[in-house]
């Protein structure tokens, strides 16, 4: 099967933009993705598009994807809207890769967009809290903060972990995000700030929760032939794993991990030739889905960065700091950079692109291979992508 390559990526600033629309934000991301391709790339070469969104606040549930491709002038191309909650554009990226690998397309646009901040807080909670098992979880009185808080309660109890670990996630990711001009909450926070914030859903406080965000992101996936027209060391999609899980947390066999994360990782690693047990030796950095601080801890364990119950030790040791063994969320993560639901997955791909092309805001030294981990809801859908720079090409 032919390989697929990432030739360009971009994102709009993430934040709260009352003057912007989902179309205008996507236009920014798209233009930046085109600019990311070195040399003279003609947008007419884009054959197809897969775009992720949860539904733009409920105002454009149908056909928003063609609305944005037509808006940016990709007139007439087949466009598919992908909806898998917060993993929508992780899946859109995977669809783009499959389209190229199948040979049906040479150049495919993947991306996502969301407008989340221009409605009342009650309306926001109305449409955001409905990607779990609505009839049961929502009707017990939880939104996602509550469901992740339940995971946190089970995790902290099971492994006797000090809740300070949750705050360490915030401190690290804010420290990274403070250097990212596209970050929504681009400021540093102290451990004390993070420890003393108002409680949202015990044990998760405000600093353990990502914000709601307006934003868009885009990635251009291409065949080997196209990629080599622009790169001496093209970025190959070494693996894209995906997996589904029970949508309701209560329906899963465990609460102290996300089974679909592990399965998606195993699939991506197998494609990329990575040994799960030694993954930390085989990737240089990762973007993981830290919608809530507990999610980053679970991700370390589900993705094989450490054993069960050991994630807090990694944080304490600075293992995932930018100068650590395996930097995680150099972009600031969802926590600091922001989480515009449908745009998050390809937003992570954009960070991988920047790192692998040497343009990271918090640049990892000698970054050759990176991982992106994107979770839908509380774990109903997960994608894991591994991208690597082909130095021998």
């Amino acid at each position: 099967m032919p390989d697929a390559y990432l030739i360009g990526a971009g994102q709009s600033p993430f934040g709260s933009f009352p003057e912007e629309t989902y179309r205008s934000l996507f236009e920014t991301a798209y233009e930046r993705a085109l600019d990311g391709v070195p040399g003279d790339f003609d947008a007419d070469r884009i054959d197809e598009a897969y775009l992720g969104t949860l539904g733009v606040g409920g105002r454009q549930i149908g056909l928003s994807a063609p609305a944005v491709t037509e808006h940016v002038g990709l007139h007439g191309i087949p466009t598919t809207r992908v909806e898998n909650a917060c993993s929508a554009s992780g899946y859109a990226f995977r669809d783009a890769v499959m389209a190229v690998k199948s040979g049906m397309a040479d150049v495919v646009l993947a991306g996502g967009y969301e407008i989340m901040t221009d409605t009342s807080s009650d309306h926001t909670k109305w449409w955001l809290g409905v990607s779990g098992e609505t009839e049961w979880e929502r009707m017990a009185g939880t939104t996602f903060a509550g469901v992740y808080a339940q995971m946190a309660s089970a995790y902290l109890q099971e492994y006797e972990v000090d809740p300070t670990a949750l705050s360490r996630v915030a401190v690290k990711n804010h420290s990274n995000g403070a250097q990212n001009p596209n970050a929504q909450l681009g400021f540093e926070c102290s451990l004390e700030d993070a420890e003393t914030a108002p409680m949202v859903a015990d044990p998760l406080n405000l600093y353990h929760c990502c914000p709601t965000t307006d934003g868009a992101s885009a990635a251009i996936v291409a065949s080997e032939e196209v990629a080599k027209q622009f790169y001496d060391e093209p970025i190959r999609v070494a693996g894209v794993g995906a997996a589904s899980g029970r949508v309701g947390l209560f329906q899963r066999e465990e609460f102290v991990g996300i089974p679909a994360s592990r399965t998606a990782a195993e699939r991506a690693y197998e494609q990329a030739g990575i040994d799960f047990e030694n993954v930390t030796d085989q990737i240089d950095f990762a973007e993981v889905h830290d919608c809530f601080a507990i999610a980053e801890l679970l991700a370390y364990e589900d993705l094989g960065f450490c054993g069960r119950g050991e994630a807090s030790r990694l944080l304490e040791e600075g293992y995932t700091d930018p100068d650590g063994e395996l930097p995680v969320n150099t972009s600031g993560g969802l926590k600091s950079k922001g989480h515009p639901i449908g745009a998050t997955g390809t937003g992570q791909i954009n960070e991988l692109f920047e790192q692998l092309t040497g343009h990271g805001h918090v640049q990892i030294e000698d970054a050759q291979r990176g991982l992106a981990h994107n979770v839908g809801g509380s774990g109903g859908g997960v994608t894991v992508a591994v991208l690597e720079k082909e130095v021998d090409a």
Binding site: T119, S120, S121, D122, H123, T124, K125, W126, G129, V130, E133, T134, E135, W136, E137, R138, M139, A140, G141, T142, T143, A145, G146, A149, Q150, M151, A152, S153, A154, Q157, P198, M199, V200, A201, D202, P203, L204, R246, G248, L249, F250, Q251, E253, F255
Partner: protein, 480 residues
């Protein structure tokens, strides 16, 4: 036997009582208003934000069935009396039928016109064949400045059957026109009185005298009397013309401790009287109900109840007046802002067996349990038709959080405004052969005190309202 249309040797075989956990002391009320209009009410029971006539009735009925060790399938009649139906028009008894697991062939009655509605469902239960549940539950509302002062809350269920412990030996009626004493205008939630003191006291006293004297007993020999009790003083005042000693009336008064519990007042007073240590198996007790418009009904009973179901009257958690007006919803707008998550009414109804009866499914292929019992088996992933398994109503917390102000989905904001932060747990229910987990809200507890590993018990509560319709289902509360 002088009763018409009822068979002899029928009466109370068991009883269940539910008194909400909150108590408002007279002192709190007096401090808030500078005085209290509730004569003889030292404290009153306060329904929680997620309680109403339906949930209190269900709680009492569950206890009556447990008291008799009777399976819900054996109930042949169920009547629900309340003056505060959650909906002004719509049958409520069928909700109680579903929640209890009583068969759909059960005859039902919903009676809502006055506090004397309780007598109507009792008479219906007497006329029924087989085990019959007469349920009364109420939490009246009124102008906080005066009418509300005496209003309390309670639920009572009397299980009526042949070969009773307490036989109902006579029923008498009296009817005359006495408007304006206790009424609720169309479209209003407020119970009112015109407060024409002498007129209404005379009306109640004359009605009580007439209906009690019509009973086939010598009132001087009666051991206890449960009399219409809109406050703690009236039962004594309105029996001034009949030979009932204050001590006899006192045995049937509960309004001094739980307030005016509307339709539940006299039935609860009756249970207290029948449990009184000075009332024996040979003794005669009377109960007299007064409907606001002038209808009155009296029962004559013979026998006594063992046990102390009414001990819960003395329990309870004292609350401030500020908490009281929040819990009662007097200061909270009920509208859902921003729109609630839309779970359609038909899909809600389809899940009632899970929400009320904790019905899970057993996989016929591999034996694993599924909740809710639909789709593929969670263990073997085969698409199967699950066998229905009713899970135990007590389980273990396996994950828990507390949803603070601002964290609740919009449809739960009114409840949170009234009752404060709430706990949401994932609870494991294990029947010894399998287990399921379900997400549930916690109630009647300090949510911060609930931890993983705690034991919790199911109780049916009002979950939320959508499109004007209240929806009910299980919540869990820490086990005693």
């Amino acid at each position: 036997m002088s009763r018409d249309g009822t068979r002899p040797n029928r009466g109370i075989v068991a009883a269940g009582v539910h008194v909400p956990q909150f108590r408002l002391e007279d002192e709190e009320l007096s401090d808030a208003w500078g005085h209290s209009q509730a004569s003889g009410v030292d404290s009153k029971a306060v329904a929680g934000a997620d309680e109403d006539a339906v949930t209190m009735g269900i709680a009492a009925a569950e206890r009556a069935l447990a008291d008799a060790d009777l399976a819900p399938e054996d109930v042949s009649f169920l009547g629900l009396a309340t003056t505060t139906p959650p909906l002004a028009e719509e049958e409520l008894a069928p909700r109680v039928v579903r929640a209890l697991g009583v068969p759909s062939s059960t005859a039902t009655r919903t009676a809502t016109a006055s506090p004397a509605s309780a007598a109507q469902v009792l008479e219906d239960a007497l006329a029924a064949e087989g085990p019959a549940l007469a349920v009364a539950a109420d939490a009246p509302e009124g102008d906080p400045a005066d009418a509300d002062h005496a209003f309390g809350a309670a639920g009572v269920a009397l299980l009526i059957d042949d070969e009773p412990v307490v036989e109902i030996t006579d029923v008498a009626h009296h009817s005359d026109e006495y408007p304006g004493i206790r009424f609720r205008q169309r479209g209003s939630e407020d119970v009112e009185t015109l407060d024409i003191t002498t007129y209404q006291r005379t009306a109640m006293r004359d009605s009580m005298t007439a209906v009690l004297e019509a009973l086939d007993t010598d009132l001087e020999s009666v051991a206890a009397a449960a009399i219409h009790q809109p406050d703690g003083g009236i039962p004594y005042r309105i029996t001034g013309d009949v030979p009932l000693e204050a001590e006899v009336v006192h045995r049937g008064v509960v309004a001094d401790r739980i307030g005016d519990a509307g339709a539940a007042g006299v039935p609860l007073g009756l249970v207290a009287a029948l449990e009184n240590e000075d009332v024996g198996a040979e003794d005669v007790t009377v109960a007299a109900f007064f409907g606001g418009g002038g209808g009155a009904t009296a029962l004559q009973l013979e026998g006594a109840l063992d046990g102390d179901r009414t001990a819960v009257i003395e329990d309870g958690e004292p609350i401030s007046y500020a908490t009281y007006v929040r819990e009662r919803g007097y200061v909270v707008e009920g509208e859902v802002a921003g729109g609630g998550a839309h779970v359609s009414l038909p899909s809600w109804r389809r899940s009632l067996d899970q929400r009320y009866r904790l019905a899970a499914g057993r996989c016929p292929e591999c034996g694993a349990y599924a909740f809710p019992p639909e789709g593929a088996c969670p263990a073997c992933h085969e698409l199967v038709d699950f066998e229905r398994v009713e899970m135990p109503r007590t389980g273990t917390v396996v994950a828990v959080t507390v949803i603070g102000q601002g964290g609740a989905p919009p449809e739960f904001v009114p409840q949170q405004d009234r009752d404060g932060a709430f706990g949401v747990a994932i609870v494991e229910l294990d029947d010894g052969e399998g287990s399921v987990e379900l997400p549930v809200q916690l109630t009647d507890c300090d949510p911060d005190a609930v931890e993983v590993g705690d034991t919790v018990t199911a109780t049916v509560r009002r979950i939320y309202d959508q499109e004007g319709i209240p929806r009910y289902g299980v919540k869990f509360t820490p086990a005693e």
